[in-house]
């Protein structure tokens, strides 16, 4: 190792540290901020909110796993009418932000929802989705593609020899699924479930509306109700602990399972008769409830309000959304690439870079506190005003969404044999040259996936945008928020649809990318 190389790893370490700073502010809060109401928070708020968080997590994650795994299994191992459509259509719910989906569902099957009303007047039965289990269902319907996508890839690519062997030995579909496919897909399921869990923990809009008391709701209760930012930060720390537990669990599942890399496509069994009908209906129901129903409802509302809609307002918001999204995606990608390079060189994943992923689970508003504290400190020492600049917003997005960019990059790098790097080094290339000329070009799909994932999330993101934005800077999500705050859901439908549209493009592109691998 020469001095220059060592210097570059110091730089990259510094970069990782730079991204961890805002979260450091949160974690170290017991040492620098007082929490006058902590006694009440710890005794009255924490127990109930922790309990409901765990209930919601268990329910939402298990439902998302059931939806995601069964859909992936049906779509990748059987042939039935419309299979080709469902294969990609079942990814679409990802484009719906959870809070928009939750509000839309409440409008349909909430206590005073339009469908509930019809059911009540015809049968006397009251339907009410607005409860903890109901919210878990809504979250699972929106988030199950996080499980469906990787599991579908695992089912179609990795395990054909095993499945073929099982079939030749006479194992039926159900037996093959539980005995062979499920165990082999465990890492993919665990990875997807982790993402679902993190999104569930992070949600604030939907839990608030449904009256569910999660830790994130507790954070805002301490902050806004008790005027105690210190207690809010401590609760965020506990939330982070919970996440560390989840990440550790996911890792242990991953470690126990071996990676398969067969490139032979799975032979799909053609379903006939009622089986084919059942498969088709199952996928259709999932698609309708997760996507078609909320979108349909949004479309109807948007159509009703379109006359008085102010497109003149929405167009700059759309422009701002895309501008910030692309900016954040690019910057996050550059950082992720640098960190991936560091990791490739250091052979073992450095702890520092691993922890940079944790921003993904910290509620946006809490990251905002950390980011603002840092920026404020910098302003007071140097005089450079940072709060209210796009630059700071983009930094905050990078802190929050780096995990989404790093994950595909690291997964892709893992598949490249190190012998390749060594050959390049032996031929006289520097590590960086090796990385950019050998590793990166092969990572193209992962790079695109990284950019798209971040873009999709930034378009949906609300709290960071709301608080860090410059004067007179509206995005689509802040527009939805404004309308939702004055309880005019219908007026929010149009910008909400625009958000979904912006999200659909990356979601579909992502699906295509994964398809490019051998089926």
């Amino acid at each position: 190792m020469n001095a220059r190389v060592r210097l570059s790893s110091v730089w990259i370490g510094a970069l990782a540290l730079f991204l961890l700073l805002p979260i450091g502010v949160v974690i170290t809060s017991p040492f620098h901020s007082s929490a006058p109401e902590w006694n009440h928070v710890a005794h009255s708020i924490l127990p109930t909110h922790l309990l409901e968080t765990i209930e919601l997590l268990l329910l939402a994650v298990s439902m998302a796993v059931v939806f995601g795994v069964s859909a992936a299994w049906i779509v990748s191992s059987f042939d039935f009418p419309l299979r080709g459509y469902f294969r990609w259509a079942l990814v679409l719910p990802l484009a719906l932000p959870t809070y928009i989906s939750a509000i839309t569902f409440a409008g349909l099957i909430g206590p005073t929802g339009s469908i509930s009303e019809v059911v009540y007047s015809s049968t006397g039965l009251r339907i009410d989705i607005m409860s903890l289990p109901g919210l878990a269902l809504v979250l699972a319907l929106v988030l199950f593609p996080y499980v469906y996508l990787p599991v579908r890839v695992a089912f179609s690519a990795g395990m054909s020899p095993h499945l073929d062997a099982a079939r030749m030995l006479g194992g039926g579909g159900i037996r093959r699924f539980f005995r062979v496919a499920m165990p082999l897909a465990r890492p993919a399921i665990a990875g997807g479930a982790l993402l679902v869990a993190m999104e569930t923990l992070n949600d604030y809009g939907a839990v608030k509306y449904y009256g569910v008391r999660t830790l994130t709701a507790g954070i805002f209760r301490s902050w806004g109700g008790l005027y105690d930012v210190g207690s809010a930060l401590r609760l965020s720390g506990i939330l982070l602990l919970l996440v560390v537990v989840l990440i550790t669990a996911e890792r242990s599942v991953r470690r126990r399972a071996g990676q398969e890399a067969s490139h032979r496509p799975v032979v799909r069994v053609r379903l006939l008769g009622w089986r084919s009908l059942a498969a088709c209906t199952g996928c259709l129901l999932l698609f309708v409830f997760a996507f078609a129903l909320p979108i349909g409802s949004l479309l109807i509302d948007a159509e009703r309000t379109i006359e008085n809609a102010r497109f003149a307002q929405f167009l700059p918001a759309l422009g701002n959304t895309l501008f910030v999204g692309i900016m954040a995606a690019t910057v996050t990608l550059v950082i992720a690439v640098l960190l991936a390079f560091a990791e490739r060189r250091s052979k073992e994943r450095s702890r520092l870079t691993r922890w940079t992923s944790i921003g993904y689970v910290v509620p946006g508003a809490v990251i905002a506190i950390g980011v603002m504290a840092l920026a404020g400190w910098l302003t007071n020492t140097t005089g450079v005003v940072l709060i209210g600049t796009i630059g700071l917003m983009v930094y905050a997005f990078a802190v929050r969404f780096l995990a989404l960019a790093s994950q595909p990059l690291n997964a892709g790098l893992k598949q490249q044999p190190r012998a390749m790097d060594e050959a390049s080094r032996l031929l006289g290339s520097s590590p960086w040259r090796t990385f950019t000329r050998v590793n990166l070009p092969l990572l193209r799909p992962a790079l695109i996936a990284a950019v798209l994932l971040v873009l999709m999330e930034v378009v949906k993101e609300l709290p960071l945008t709301l608080i860090l934005r410059p004067f007179n800077f509206d995005t689509l999500s802040t527009k939805v928020f404004e309308m939702a705050r004055i309880e005019e859901w219908r007026d929010a439908a149009l910008p909400a649809l625009l958000i979904v549209l912006c999200g659909l493009v990356p979601v579909l592109a992502l699906d295509r990318l994964l398809d490019r691998r051998p089926r």
Binding site: Y210, G211, D228, N472, E487
Partner: protein, 344 residues
């Protein structure tokens, strides 16, 4: 170190990143507003203000707690000139933390009743909303709803609709009770409400009104302007509620009906103080007060400006004249009382 292909990209991005948003300072007069309010009415009033004075109104709209955190982080470098929230409690908090500066302005003092502004001139209320009862007129008689305590009677078991205690409107109602009668009687009231709830608290104020229409409960604790908006709504889904709802203005122990305000104060480190005061004055002008009343169904604060006809039809509002800074003082205590009562 950086590959050649990336250099032009970085060259393009870096300046954009750093300087976008720090718009070049030019001649035009501005006033920078941090606001929690998010109404079209406000924007229309700002536009008129700009037309009348030539002063451009720059807005950051976010939740008030986050705005206060932003002010704290920005310190003396904050660009904010005027802070507007929809809760007197937050204004009191902003004053206590030194984010506001006292203003003595005879026009503001003349236009705003004393109990709706800070005695030291740190903040000024410019609209009022009352926390009232909406009820199903086919099931409940108005004389059954004369006081807040009436809702705790066994008569309303399984009938009371209200949103979660997480919302500041519920917190400031309880804070007012604590200010008047102490935490014990506030706790007793909260427990009485919890015992009579028609369902676990969920949804928004408007959702509680719709639930009356659906017969899920017969009385809801809601803010006046949501009822006003519902009554003027042409949305077919809201007609059922509209046809059965009437409004009661409950009394809090002889003090009147609980009100909260939207108000503003000049930021401690305002760079455009004079413009901020002009905007505040403009918000209390006859034209703006009428716009708040008719456009947003809020009660105007300026004496002599009538409330919207819809609100007047509901009945007469006799507002509690409690010093509103008490709402901020007791908000944390109110949350504790709400937690203790089991109000979700």
């Amino acid at each position: 170190m950086i590959p050649n292909t990336m250099i032009p990209v970085l060259r393009l991005l870096l300046p954009l990143l750093l300087f976008y948003g720090c718009a070049a300072p030019h001649e035009q007069q501005v006033v920078n507003v941090y606001t929690h309010r998010h109404y079209d009415t406000d924007q229309a009033i700002y536009d008129q203000f700009t037309k009348a004075t030539g002063i451009k109104v720059n807005i950051v709209m976010a939740d008030d707690d986050e705005l206060l955190s932003r002010l704290e982080a920005e310190g003396v470098n904050s660009p904010a000139d005027l802070i507007i929230t929809a809760d007197a409690g937050r204004l009191g908090l902003a004053k206590q933390r030194g984010f506001l500066k006292p203003i003595h302005d005879s026009l503001l003092d003349a236009n705003i009743p004393k109990h709706l502004r800070d005695p030291e001139g740190n903040w000024f209320g410019f609209t009022m909303r009352a926390r009232v009862f909406a009820y199903d007129k086919n099931k409940v008689k108005p004389e059954e709803l004369m006081t807040y305590n009436a809702l705790c009677s066994p008569r309303f078991k399984g009938q009371v609709l209200v949103r979660p205690s997480e919302h500041v409107y519920n917190q400031s109602l309880v804070a007012a009770m604590i200010a008047h009668f102490g935490p014990d009687s506030a706790l007793k009231w909260c427990k009485g409400i919890v015992a009579n709830m028609a369902r676990d608290p969920k949804g928004s104020d408007t959702d509680q009104l719709l639930a009356i229409g659906e017969g899920i409960g017969s009385v809801a604790i809601v803010n006046s302007y949501y009822i006003g908006k519902l009554m003027n709504s042409t949305d077919p889904a809201r007609q059922k509620a509209k046809s059965v709802i009437a409004v009661a203005f409950p009394d809090m122990g002889g003090n009147g009906t609980h009100v909260n305000i939207s108000g503003g104060g000049v930021a401690a480190h305002a760079k455009h103080e004079a413009n901020a005061i002009m905007l505040l004055e403009y918000l209390c002008s006859d034209a703006s007060q009428a716009a708040f009343a008719d456009g947003n169904m809020e009660y105007p604060v300026k004496p002599g400006i009538p409330a919207a006809a819809t609100l007047q039809n509901f009945g007469h509002l006799a507002p509690d004249t409690l010093d509103l800074s008490m709402l901020g003082k007791y908000n944390a205590e109110a949350v504790k009382v709400l937690d203790a009562s089991g109000w979700r």
